[in-house]
Every structure is written in C-alpha cells, then in structure tokens.
Amino acid sequence: MDIDDVHTTRTQASHSRVLPIDENHPFDFDQYTSIYSGRGLVERLLFLIPQCPSLAVQATQLAMKHLKTMRDTFLYQRLLTAYDQASGNSPDAPLPPVNDVINIDPAWIEDVNRRNQEDRTKLEVELKTYSSNMIKESIRMAHRDLAEHYRAVGDYQSALKHYAKLREFCTTSQHVLDMCLSVLELLIEQRNYAHIPTYVFKAEPALDASTNALRSTSFATPSIHSAATPHAAATAAQATKDRLMNERQKTQTKLEVATGISHLGLGAYDKAAAAFLRAGSSNSLGTWSTKVIPPSDIAIYATLCALATYPRPQIKTQILENDTFVYSYLESESYVRELVENWISGRFKAVLEGLERHSTRHALSPHLAPHLHVLTQMIRSRAVALYFQPFATVKLEKMASAFGWNVDETEQEVVRLIGEGEVKGRVDRLGKILRAQEVNQRAELYARTMKVGQDMQSANRKLLLRLRLYVSFFIPASVFAPFILTWIILANRRT
C-alpha cells in the first residue's frame, strides 16, 4: 500500500513538475524542435509545454503553426489544456492569456471537421464498392486509406481496426510488412509499448519472405538477358544484392528501434539497450528519424540503458567500438559520447554531473521521461559499486568528493546499496569508513556443508514419512514410491 502511494505521488509529481532551464541545465529549444516534424513535433511540444512554462508561449505558437497544416482538431483542444497547465505551473511569472498567444479560429476548426467528415464518407463508400466487387487489392488499399485517414484525424482506435482488417487482404509479404510498419508507427506514437513486440514478430517472417521473393525474381531476370556478358551480369547481380540488403537493413533497423522503445517502455532496460545497439545506420531510419524517433534520442536511450545495466567491458565493445552506433547516433549528441567515455575511465562525478546537466533534455523525451528517475538511480548505484570494487577500505569523505556528494548523502547511498547487495562491504559509522567484507572461505564452507547436511537429513526424514503415508493410505503408490526413494537417494549423493 505504501509503495503504491509513493508511486502515485511520484508520477503525479512528474506530471506537474517544472523542469529547470538555466545555466546549469541548458536546453536548446530551437535545436530540439528542429529535429522533429509533423505530428511527432506537435506531440513533443504538447509534452513540453506544461513542464516548461518559460518556453510555453514560444512552443504554443510553434505548435499552432504546425497544427494548421494538420487535420486533427482534437490536438487543438489538447494544446489549450497544455497551455492552461503551463500557466498553473508558473505562479511567479504569469503567462499571457491564450488569446494573445494564438488566435483561435472557430471557422477553421469547423472547416477541418467538415472536410474530415466528407473524406471519411467518401472513403467508406469506396470501401463498400470494392468489397462488393471482391477485388482483394482494392479492398486492401481502401482499408489502408481509411486507416491513414483516421490516423491523421487522431482516431487511433479506428485506424488500428482498419489496419487489422487490412491484413486478410494482403497478398504479398511486402504488404504485410507495410502494414506492420504503419501499425508500429501508430503504436509508438500512442506509447502502447506492450503491443509493439506482437507486430515486430509478425513483421520478421514477412521481412524474410519478401527479401527471398525479391532475390529470386531479381536474380532470375538478369541472367536471361545478359547471359552474353557474364561480367555485367555479375555486377548487376552484385548491385541488386546490395540494394536488397539495403532494403532489408532499413526495415530491420526500424524493427529493432521499435523493439527497443517497447522494452524501454516496459522497463526492460538491458533488452532495450541490446535492441538499440543492434540497429543499423541512421540513414535506414528514413522518415522515422523525424516522424517517430530521431537518432539523437536513440543515442540517449541506448546509452542510459546500457550504463544502467551493462558491465563496463561490454559498454566498451558494444558502444565505443561499435562504429555504426558511434557514427550514426552517438555523434549527433556529443555529450552522450562524453558520458560513455567518462564512465569507461571511471570519472563518475563527471558522469553524474552530465546526467544532471542534461536532465531537462531527457525529461522532455516522452518515451524516456517515466523511466528517467529509475535509470538515473540505477546508474548512480552502479557507479558507487564500481568505484568501491578495487578497494579494501575507503574513507567515506574521499568517496563523497569523488562523487560530488556530502558525507551523509554518501553514507545513505552506500547503506542502501549494501542492503540491496550491490556493494559487498560494511560501514564503520564512527570512523566513516567503508570496509570491504572479508569472508573466511574455509569456515564458510564448513558452515555451509554442515547446514546442507542437516537440511538433507531432515528432508530425507520427512520424505520417508511421506512415502510411508503414501504406501499406507494411497495404495496405487506402489509404482510411484520407488521414484520418491530414488529421488531421495540421488539428492543424498549430490551433497
């Protein structure tokens, strides 16, 4: 019960919390907004506005500008609510009223709504016609158009419904693949993490099948035409092969990224890191890099997850020595690279400071925000554990200075970690010293052996009684009894 309370208050707090933007927490609004486009941008702005009242006016205007080009009037409502929240969150510096910031245009809303209605009717009529004509391909396209329409309007449920229906009319695996990717985009936008793996699993066999199909057709055709010039045929074959691999790589990267986001959303940080690190170069992301997730976000997600869960050598080989990852992603956020390098060389203070410095940037990423606190905590814990590893005794004072904390804070952290079993040591409260635990292996072994022996004897006794009871009261045990006994004997020998 208590845990629940804490949890809810924390999530509430994170909703209404105002993020600091100052010299210590720099945040480049223009740069942040320039990497997104379309709906992705508006969604992120909506996420940002309540948390950063100082940027609210600017952000609201930008969002409005983009809204006008879109067809989702509901977003408009959300923008107003977000702005309201922002005003509520900044009691010190009151924001100007909404009307001064953006001009509300009821006529535009009505117009858009009307156009949406018309389009929908048109598309539905088309679908009906095609359905009665039973042309599979047309039905599929009608469903796809409807789904896309609903998506643009912001009705995700209906969009998903039509994507699902579309599936039975897919004739090639490429169609299935397209459908899966569209649904994945939708799910990521919706932050519906639990469903993402389902569509990734559906997409993978489709990807294999479509690659195979393409390969067989493209290899078959040139060999007939250009049999005379084997050299040209070889180059052509090589070219198609490259193109194929390229195509495949693109889709594969998207799938990996989707998996990574899903794992991150569900709190499986190690798996998330692995998935992000498997992704191909950022070129393969295509439109996803502005619509769904920019490479810089991938760099941040992957790095934080890896720092929180991976052992140091693995971070070195998989991040710093992974050329694709470094060039495609890590370069786009140079401070993230510094984080990793500091971590590898043991400058934990710099790592923690870097995390704090960019916390605003991290907290404004919708996928990462709910996990930021946990991840930071995990990274802190691991840092302390790693720092202490080579020492037999450490003065808490020295440790505090290495991490930039005060002594009490350090002690609390260390005590918590000892309780969780992350740090094997004990605190000398008076001398303020952390001492590594010395284990007398020999004595330990004796104690353990004795205990196991006693446990085994008592277990044998109990099992034997159980066997007797079976034999006496549950007669058919005559087959069964020898197995219990065999088990007892085996268990006995194992020790």
Binding site: V415, I418, G419, R426, V427, D428, R429, L430, G431, I433, R435, E438, N440, A443, E444, Y446, A447, M450, G453, Q454, Q457, S458, A459, N460, R461, K462, L464, L465, R466, R468, L469, Y470, V471, S472, F473, F474, S478, V479, A481, P482, L485, T486, I488, I489, L490, N492, R493, R494
Partner: protein, 459 residues
C-alpha cells in the same frame, strides 16, 4: 487383503488351529467363569483372542466381562498379566465402557500399561484404542491422571517409537489439553519413519493430529526448529484436497519461521498447491511479507486483523513474533555496519537506547550476533566465524553414513517387493522407454545409458 507382513507371522499358524477350535469354544463358553478357565488353560494368544472376541452373545459379552466371578473374586486378580495380557485388556475395556460396571482402579490401569506384553496386545488393536479412550474418559475432569498410563501405553505398544500409532495422536492431544508439554518430549524426539496400518487402528488424520499437536508442544516450549519440522510435516502430508488442519498448520508454520529466520520461507515444492493459494488470501501472508519492521508498525498490522488471529488462537505466537522483530532488525544492521551508536540503532529499530542495550546484550548472550558495547555507547559488530570441532564433523559423517545405509536397505527392500516387481514387469516396455528419455536429457552422449545412468554420475 490379508494383513501383510508384520502381523502375519503369528497369523497363519494361529488361524489354522483356531479355525476349528472356536466353533466348539463358542458353543461352550457362556459365563465369565468358563472364559477365565479357558484363558488359564494352555492356549496360544491368537486362540485366546478369538475366544474373547466371539464368546457368548454380542450384546451380553461386554456386560459379562465387566462382572465379577461368582465367588466374588476379581477376575483381574486371577489372571496374570504376563500370560494373559489379552484377557486383562478385554476385561479392563469392558469395565471402562459398560455403564454401571465398577470402574477399574488407577492402580490396575497403571499396572496394565506398565506390565502388558506388547506382542499379545497387538492382537487386539481395537481394544487398545478403546482402552486409551476409556482411560481418558475415566479420568474425568482430572485429565492429568491419564497422562502416565497413556505414556506407558504409547511407549510400549509399538515395536519401537518410530512406528506411528493412533495412540500417538491420542496421547499428544492429551498433553496439549492438560498443558503438560514436556511429558511428550521423549515420544516426540523419535521421528516417525514407519507407518503400519495393521499395527493399530491408525487413520490418515492421526498423522496430521499427531504432528500438529507435536508442533504445538514444541512451540509452547520454545523449541522453534522442532516446531517448524512438525508443522511442515503436517503441511506437506500428501492429500488430494488439503485438510483444514493443514491450513492451520501452515499458518502456524509461517509464524514459527518468522521467529526462526526473520523472514517467510518458501514451503517445499511438494506442498499442495491449493494450500499455498489459500494462505495467500489470509492476513498471515501480508504479515509475513511486512516482517520485520518496527514493533509499532507490526502491532498496527496485528490489530487490523485481530479477529482472525483470535479465532485462530495465534495471538500468543504472533506476540512472540512481534517481540522478536527488533532482533531481526538489529541483525540486519550487522550486515551493513561495523560500528554503530546505541541511539543510532534505537532510531533505526524504533526502541529507546536502554532497551536497545538490553536487546543487544541478550542477542550476544544467545549467540545471535557477535558484538561488543563500549563505554560511550558504541556497538562494534564482529563477524562470528563458525568453528567446528573434529567430533562434530565425525558425528555428522556418521549420521550421514547411517542415513545412506538406511536408504540403501530401503531401496533394496522396495526393489525386491512383490508389488514393485509385478508393476515393473507389466510396464517394462513403456517405463524403459521413458527412462531412456530421461537418461538422454541428463547424461552426456555416449555415456552409460539406461535407468541408472544418472546414479552413476553421482556415485
């Protein structure tokens, strides 16, 4: 359906002779005098038992036996216990159960229980049960009187104490009722290893009742480790649907384990799954998961479900669990700190400094922790290195060898038993196949295959 193995030895010969003998006996014997004469004559115990069981009419048999001889003599004085345990037993039972009959004196009962011949008495398990119940009934309000005769009965009746009888559960119940816990200890100290339904009128519940009562006795005496074992036996006893007493035992087991280990322990894998599900929905589960905490918090948890605990009669046990909470909290601190001030401990545990001092002192005394308190109130914890002497190790080895020998004998006996061989022969093909599958998973390829491949790995 013939009573197998243990009682069969006297059986065949005795039954063979008595097959024709009782026909005439039954016709002849109609009075107590004749019966006594027959008992005094030179017959085998099984024959006598037959006679005792079948003489006169069913309705009048007990009344006749409860009477005295025509010359006014007490038949019990005529019969000698060594030769006529059975006759003595039947008459005692009759007197205890026939309404209006003169009840046997305490001395007579004591005398019988101390002096009866077990081999003879085992011919009439029903009478022994009746006698045990009769003794308790006869003691009336003063249940304590029944303790001594019953103790002798339980100790002397079975071939040895590792055999479970229904007397065990009767006696243990009595001990718990009269709160004479230590009387039961000599019996409880021998673990039950043999169950023989033909030995006494044993029912399935006797096992549960005996071990449950045993757990209660050990709990009352503060021998938590033994209490844990007994409750665990009850909890893990095989059953299609768990008995209510098993759930009660699981509740007590949970509390006892909190006292012993300071945290809940997973019940063994072969515990009935229903039982585990049932306990999840009781307050005990919550309590165990919250443990250990500050006493205040635990008390609040207890008051929340006080009614449940009261109806289960576990308040006393629960109180002990709560009283031990500070000890577990302090014990936890020892794994985190090397030195700590008394008031720091007090803050963490929720006790006054002086209370902490006394708790720490008592923990050091008992050997729970290894620590010293300096004059300025600083506690220094030191790791206790477990020390074992050579004799301890030797003892452990001897025990292990004895156990392994016992298991080997058991295995041989089972492998040679008729039921097993018949079954093994019948299912030879299927079970062989299955076994080889097992072997495939468990042994390295190319290694010895067959049913005992596994064993060879550990040999």
């Amino acid at each position: 359906m013939a009573p197998s193995t243990s009682t069969a030895q006297p059986g065949p010969s005795g039954q063979g002779q008595s097959a024709h003998a009782p026909a005439e006996d039954k016709a002849q014997i109609t009075t107590l005098e004749e019966l006594i004469n027959l008992l005094l004559s030179n017959r085998t115990p099984p024959q006598k038992n037959d006679a005792l069981k079948t003489f006169a009419h069913k309705e009048t048999r007990d009344a006749l036996m409860a009477a005295s001889l025509p010359n006014g003599a007490d038949p019990l004085n005529v019969l000698s216990l060594a030769d006529n345990t059975l006759g003595y037993l039947y008459i005692l039972c009759a007197r205890l159960h026939v309404p209006g009959a003169p009840p046997p004196t305490t001395a007579q009962l004591e005398g019988f229980c101390e002096g009866f011949v077990p081999g003879q008495a085992r011919l009439a398990p029903d009478r022994i049960t009746a006698l045990a119940k009769g003794i308790i009934k006869a003691s009336g309000d003063n249940l304590k009187l029944a303790l001594s005769p019953l103790r002798h009965l339980v100790t002397r009746y079975p071939p040895n104490l590792s055999y479970l009888t229904n007397l065990h559960s009767i006696f243990l119940n009595l001990c718990v009722k009269t709160r004479y816990f230590s009387v039961a200890l000599p019996i409880l100290s021998v673990p039950i290893l043999n169950v023989d339904k033909t030995l006494s009128e044993l029912t399935y519940n006797d096992n549960l009742l005996y071990h449950y009562a045993g757990g209660v006795v050990f709990g009352a005496l503060g021998r938590w480790k033994d209490a844990e074992e007994f409750f665990e036996i009850v909890v893990t006893s095989p059953a299609q649907t768990p008995a209510a007493i098993q759930l009660e035992a699981l509740k007590k087991l949970t509390l006892v384990q909190l006292i012993l280990y300071g945290k809940p322990v997973q019940p063994p894998k072969y515990t009935n799954a229903t039982l585990i599900r049932l306990i999840k929905s009781t307050p005990y589960n919550n309590f165990a998961r919250a443990y250990p905490q500050r006493v205040v918090a635990l008390n609040a948890l207890m008051t929340k479900d006080i009614d449940t605990y009261r109806t289960d009669q576990n308040i006393g046990l629960l109180q002990q669990v709560i009283n031990r909470a500070p000890r577990w909290l302090i014990k936890k601190l020892t794994s985190t700190y090397l030195t700590l001030g008394l008031n720091d401990i007090g803050l963490q545990v929720g006790l006054e400094t002086e209370e902490v001092r006394s708790v720490v002192l008592s923990m050091v005394e008992v050997g729970d922790i290894n620590a010293s308190i300096s004059s300025d109130g600083t506690v220094t914890f030191v790791d206790a290195t477990p020390q074992f002497t050579k004799t301890q190790v030797d003892n452990a080895l001897l025990q292990a060898q004895a156990q392994s020998k016992l298991l080997h004998e058991l295995e041989r006996a089972l492998n040679a038993s008729k039921e097993y061989l018949a079954k093994a022969l019948k299912h030879k093909d299927e079970s062989w196949g299955g076994m080889e599958d097992d072997a495939l998973y468990n042994t390295h390829p190319g290694g010895p295959s067959g049913p005992w491949a596994e064993e060879s790995m550990y040999a």
